[in-house]
């Protein structure tokens, strides 16, 4: 595929946010989605870090795309990503020490986040830096949307607060399970089921599209 074919930068940008949302539609990068969404602040910090690394890595790989060889490309992707993640990790440690402590190993684990590797593979290694940058920002915002949604739901239900401010009355029984690991699975499962229901309701109102197609989730099957 040459650099002229494929979606335009605008399409790439729009697609990343909802139509091809990395978390809800492609089920990529589930490790941070479940692990750092116990509070909205950590979810948003993680999204910002992922967005930055994705943008830098996508543009870099797009610039060297003619030099890539098929059998070593994944290693090249991860090495470039590892460089940028080291940068982010050091910056976070220097300027946002408590947050960097809170995110712990999940910050360096951005290196093996399959969203970034997948975007490098699908977009950056085939299209121009402009396409790659638009794609990175779109996908990064889609990721932010997903993490923000989960983080907000889990923090409100689990701690009764949002970004540290109390939003529910003190009488609210705090569902501590929501900020513990099982709550992440429950919240994400219910959110996906709600999106599924919404989508099949919308397709049912249109002419007669095949209902099975709208339910065909495509899980990313190996990495991350």
């Amino acid at each position: 595929m040459n650099s002229e074919s494929g979606p335009t930068p605008t399409e790439r940008f729009i697609n990343g946010i909802l139509p091809e949302n990395p978390v809800f539609r492609q089920l990529l990068g589930l490790c941070p989605v479940l692990a750092v969404t116990a509070s909205l602040a950590s979810a948003l910090t993680m999204s910002a870090a992922v967005l930055f690394v994705l943008l830098c890595a996508n543009v870099c790989i797009s610039l060297i795309r003619h030099l890539l060889r098929p059998h070593v490309r994944i290693v090249v992707f991860t090495l470039i990503i590892a460089g940028f993640v080291t940068l982010v990790d050091l910056l976070m440690g220097a300027f946002f020490y408590p947050m960097s402590k809170l995110l712990g190993p999940y910050l360096p684990l951005i290196i093996v986040n399959c969203i970034i590797i997948c975007r490098c593979e699908v977009c950056a290694s085939r299209q121009t830096p402009l396409h790659a940058a638009a794609d990175a920002i779109g996908q990064g915002l889609g990721f932010t949307l997903a993490l923000g949604a989960l983080g907000a739901v889990r923090e409100v239900l689990g701690a009764g607060s949002l970004l540290g401010h109390r939003v529910l009355p003190a009488a609210w029984p705090e569902q501590v399970v929501m900020i513990l690991p099982p709550g992440a699975f429950f919240a994400f499962g219910l959110l996906l089921a709600a999106l599924n229901a919404l989508r099949s309701a919308r397709t049912a109102r249109r002419l007669n599209p095949s209902p099975t197609e709208s339910l065909a989730w495509k899980p990313s099957e190996a990495s991350c």
Partner: protein, 225 residues
């Protein structure tokens, strides 16, 4: 005895108490993607365990003898990626030579183990306990291997449990909106709740090891306490 107890604690901690998949959420993608059949899930678990052990050994050696003495902490992540990629290549070569049918059934998954976060997570935990602490507290190779073995066993346990449950789910009448991944996540949540039952048992085990040292050594000699 002290060492054996601490090794057991590290391994049990990684396998059950803080299960890699259900508590730390590392390796979630294969947990969801490759858990349709029990046999394939088990081989995936074994492959990950093997790669984790090789990568843990290499990264511990690298950290202790190269990164720490020369103050190259900044290169930690990049060097770990190189180590992991090399171990995956090694495992791939071995499986292709020794078990060609297994190699075929893995297909594209095998090279993608490079980007499995369970492996990098283990290496990072090892670096946390070697690079960032004083030499007296630094982990030895045996502790690193205990973590790798326990973590790999925990991953295998979780993915095999999940695939068994998913095979049963095939015959269940799941609500339409929950079909596919949502119900898998809910089931994983229930599994995680079950594994939370182990919370705190590490402290209890540590106390038991300390208090029961005498009795255990007596038992080992065949004397009833």
């Amino acid at each position: 005895m002290e060492t054996l107890g601490s090794l057991l604690l590290i391994a049990l901690g990684a396998a059950l108490i803080h299960n890699f998949v259900l508590s730390y959420f590392v390796g979630i993608c294969p947990f969801i993607g490759v858990s349709r059949r029990v046999d394939l899930a088990f081989s995936m678990g074994c492959a990950v365990t093997f790669v984790v052990c090789v990568a843990a050994t290499l990264s511990w050696t690298l950290t202790t003898f190269l990164l720490k003495p020369f103050g190259l902490g900044i290169l930690t992540y990049i060097s770990y990626i190189v180590v992991i990629a090399a171990s995956v290549q090694f495992v791939e070569l071995y499986i292709r030579k020794a078990h060609p049918p297994l190699y075929k059934s893995f297909g594209v998954y095998l090279p993608l183990i490079t980007t499995n976060c369970a492996i990098l997570f283990t290496c990072l935990e090892i670096s946390k306990n070697t690079l960032l602490v004083s030499s007296a507290e630094a982990w030895g190779l045996h502790q690193a291997l205990a973590l790798a073995l326990g973590g790999g066993a925990g991953f295998t346990l979780a993915i095999v449990l999940m695939s068994g449950l998913r095979q049963e789910l095939e015959f269940c009448d799941v609500p339409k909106a929950f079909q596919g991944i949502p119900i898998v996540l809910i089931v994983a949540g229930v599994l995680a709740l079950a594994f939370m039952g182990f919370t705190g048992s590490d402290q209890g085990l540590a106390n038991a090891f300390r208090a029961g040292e005498v009795q255990v050594s007596a038992l080992a000699e065949g004397v009833t306490p």
